[in-house]
């Protein structure tokens, strides 16, 4: 057991949790932030991607203890004053999602890409999304949405 203190989506949280608590479990079960999804058990699907101190990581493959003291942003924390983030808007406008299950991780990963590369090419977007599996969209509209967001961010 240890004390986990994080700033999640701008809110300070402090909770006791067993040492083996994954960040994804902490978010979903302890904080009821169920927007972060679990799609695999081998760290490959990316449904669980969140930002920790500004960088994207797979929350299913990080211990809560291990990111103690960090700033965490999840899909629930992207809106400002009820307005969606340009990446969220672009996904909506260009139909970058169908069932929505991969979407939170996809959006978080894509935002990280644009933080690092303001105008990525199609190839760069597709390469970056290697760690995010989507079974519904065939990725084409996701790529289009990321490009659209790049013009708005």
């Amino acid at each position: 057991m240890g004390r986990i203190s994080l700033e999640v989506n701008g809110r300070k949280v402090e909770k006791e949790a067993p040492d083996n608590t994954l960040l994804s479990t902490f978010l979903r079960e302890h904080l009821q932030l169920t927007g972060t999804h679990i799609g695999c058990d081998t760290s490959q699907c990316g449904a669980c991607v969140v930002h920790v101190d500004g960088n994207s990581l797979k929350s299913c493959t990080a211990l809560a203890a291990d990111v103690n003291g960090s700033k965490v942003t999840t899909i629930e924390g992207l809106e400002t004053n009820g307005k969606m983030h340009p990446m969220q808007e672009a996904f909506k406008k260009l139909h970058g999602l169908q069932c929505g299950f991969c979407t939170p991780g996809m959006v978080m990963s894509a935002i990280d890409l644009l933080q690092k590369n303001k105008k990525p090419s199609d190839v760069e977007i597709r390469d970056w999304l290697e760690g995010n599996i989507c079974r519904c969209t065939g990725y084409q509209n996701i790529v289009a949405a990321v490009k659209e967001a790049a013009t708005k961010m």
């Binding site: 083996n20 990581l57 797979k58 203890a65 970056w128 760690g131």
Partner: protein, 261 residues
């Protein structure tokens, strides 16, 4: 995942003091956590070494590039210094896993784990690396002992990896379509005296292909290894690639690497 105690070590000393026969160091966790989740590994203690300052960072001298063990793949791939001194090393790092894996995974963890299809071990062999631990210095070709096996002793901590800067080098990977690890990866490095052709993925452990090294040391051109028929008897064979296919890929990737140098 079975419960364990999490420790965050301040320095190497504390880390090795905490180590026991049922502990593991936790660097990026990109191997340790998935294996624990799947029940393939269990530990009583996990000793986080990410916060040990000394283990992170990249230093370049005239002859070598030294990378701290807890340096992340993304730091190596983005480092201007590495790009300048050994561009193939930064592009190798850029080809490991996906961005989220590269944001966490470390060079020390990769080498300590010595997965037979991991990328970094080939760089260590090709670039005549010296592995600095908290106890000693180990030459790369004495470090990788076998499948998931290294020369590290219990509690011994890798602190840094020192790579020799080659004249020319290139790493070429034929990825497994599913996991994207190497089915075969070949790291060719031309040093002053000789050429190393380090191969990962093909056998149970990374190795330097003597036959190709010799041919290329004589004449550094892909034509000197073209059509070479490698012995496939010790090569891995699985549903993704037979031993014969791997043997052929080793030559093909080596040729590509030489051409890219």
């Amino acid at each position: 995942m079975k419960d364990f105690n999490y420790h965050s070590a301040k320095d190497s000393k504390e880390a090795s003091k905490l180590a026991s026969s049922s502990s593991a160091f936790l660097a990026g966790g990109m191997t340790t956590i998935p294996s624990m989740k799947l029940g393939l590994a269990t530990y009583k203690d996990l000793i986080d070494i990410k916060n040990i300052k000394k283990l992170s960072g990249i230093k370049v001298s005239g002859k070598s590039v030294t990378i701290g063990a807890a340096t992340k793949h993304v730091e190596v791939s983005n480092s201007k210094d590495v790009k300048k001194a050994i561009p193939s090393l930064s592009s190798l790092a850029e080809g490991i896993g996906d961005p989220q894996v590269r944001n966490r995974g470390t060079i020390g963890g990769s080498i300590a784990n010595n997965d037979p299809s991991a990328d970094y071990p080939s760089a260590c062999i090709a670039l005549n690396a010296i592995i600095h631990t908290n106890e000693r210095k180990i030459e790369a070709n004495k470090f990788f002992k076998g499948m998931f096996e290294t020369a590290l002793k219990k509690g011994e901590l890798i602190e840094a990896i020192e790579f020799q800067i080659p004249e020319k080098s290139s790493y070429q990977k034929h990825p497994n379509p599913a996991s994207r690890y190497a089915i075969v990866g070949v790291y060719v490095a031309k040093h002053k005296g000789d050429v190393n052709v380090a191969v990962t993925g093909a056998k149970s452990c990374v190795y330097n292909d003597k036959e190709m090294s010799k041919a290329l040391s004589g004449n550094f051109s892909s034509s000197s290894i073209d059509g070479m028929d490698l012995d496939s008897s010790e090569m891995n064979s699985d549903m993704h690639a037979s031993a014969d296919f791997r043997a052929s890929l080793v030559v093909t990737q080596a040729k590509k690497a030489v051409d890219a140098c």
